[in-house]
């Protein structure tokens, strides 16, 4: 086989053939939205998300012998993506959690109308201020639409823990939006 048709793998010295590369490219295209969008939500920053997504796919390529497409790669990709995001955040300066994210109960403002786009914008900002675990839980549950069981499996946690992280995250986000609205008044 001509050298141009061979490529040595990252994991070992076995050559991978062109069809392997094509197969990997197909997987890349198929799962890029899952990986990049999840990373974007968890990190809140597109540049960081792209770095994390790149690491995820390089890891996917490295472990290509362990692909089991019959079971689907989605759960594995979610898990690796979340972990890659955690690793990246540890290398970056963390946004300090706004201490007001844990304010005591306050009655919500009456007759506050908030349009969906404003709420989405505020939520994007609020996501950055959650803890790692709360953010991951609410991203997987509410944005990616996974069940508590699926999210728990991806996060290596229990359903009870994931549910708790998700509702705490929603509560914090709601309060963040309320506070932002109040500050505009």
């Amino acid at each position: 086989m001509e050298p141009t048709e061979l490529a040595l793998s990252m994991a070992d010295s076995r050559p991978i053939h062109q069809e392997d590369r094509s197969r990997f490219e197909e997987l890349l295209v198929r799962h890029q939205r899952l990986v990049l969008s999840t990373a974007w939500r968890v990190l809140g920053n597109l540049d960081d998300a792209r770095d994390a997504a790149q690491e995820v796919f390089l890891k996917l390529h490295k472990h290509r012998d362990q692909w089991d497409e019959s079971r689907g790669l989605a759960a594995w990709l979610y898990r690796v993506t979340v972990n890659a995001c955690y690793d990246l955040r540890r290398r970056r300066v963390e946004l300090p959690l706004a201490d007001s994210m844990d304010v005591p109960y306050d009655a919500p403002p009456a007759d506050e109308l908030i349009d969906l786009e404003t709420r989405k914008r505020l939520l994007r900002e609020g996501l950055k201020r959650l803890t790692e675990k709360e953010r991951a839980a609410v991203v997987l549950r509410d944005i990616e639409g996974l069940s508590a069981r699926e999210a728990a499996e991806i996060l290596g946690s229990s359903e009870v823990t994931v549910r708790a992280q998700a509702w705490k995250a929603r509560l914090k986000l709601k309060k963040f939006c309320d506070r932002a609205l109040r500050s505009r008044l």
Partner: protein, 179 residues
């Protein structure tokens, strides 16, 4: 319980995390508390708005850039590996040759090839002698073997020193007085 205490229960109910008895108690409270009803509604709105974020995606160009970066990294490592093997082979061969050359020719230059003759016998009067009948010889200091070439009395001594460069030969002409 006051509303502050119900806050967690309401939040858990939106998550679907309440057992039936607790859910029933909460429903009873919500019927009587507009603030908690509002809290429940807004938490559901928050959950729904988060779901709307699913439709927001990076531009197609971002995805294309991601794919290009990943494939470039994979192909780059491939090219590096293909270059590394012959380069490593050349390096190993080179190191082997250098090692062999050094074993055959250590750092010191080729030994100088000179003709050495045993020192000429010293005249009897030059060396001290034991108190015997043997002639006294004058003591001569021990000197390292001097390169001396056999030569006839009327001819100068020729000392030829060979170096590790075959094209370079050092020749000394020394008369019998050592000059």
């Amino acid at each position: 319980m006051n509303c502050a205490q119900w806050e967690e229960v309401v939040a858990r109910s939106v998550e679907g995390d309440l057992e039936a008895p607790e859910a029933a108690r909460m429903a009873e409270h919500l019927a009587a508390c507009s603030a908690c009803r509002r809290l429940a509604a807004e938490l559901r709105q928050t959950k729904a708005a988060l779901g709307e974020l699913t439709g927001e995606e990076p531009d197609a160009a971002i995805y294309a850039d991601l794919r290009a970066r990943v494939l470039e990294r994979i192909d780059g490592r491939t090219r590096w590996r293909w270059a590394a093997y012959p380069a490593a082979a050349v390096l190993l061969i080179g190191l082997s040759v250098v090692t062999l050359l050094r074993l055959e020719a250590p750092d010191s230059p080729r030994p100088v090839q000179i003709a050495v003759t045993p020192p000429r016998p010293v005249p009897p009067e030059a060396t001290p002698r034991q108190p015997r009948q043997a002639p006294v010889r004058k003591p001569r200091p021990r000197q390292p073997a001097q390169p001396v070439l056999l030569a006839r009395a009327e001819e100068p001594l020729v000392i030829k020193m060979l170096t590790d460069d075959p094209d370079i030969v050092i020749i000394w002409l020394v008369d019998r007085n050592g000059e």
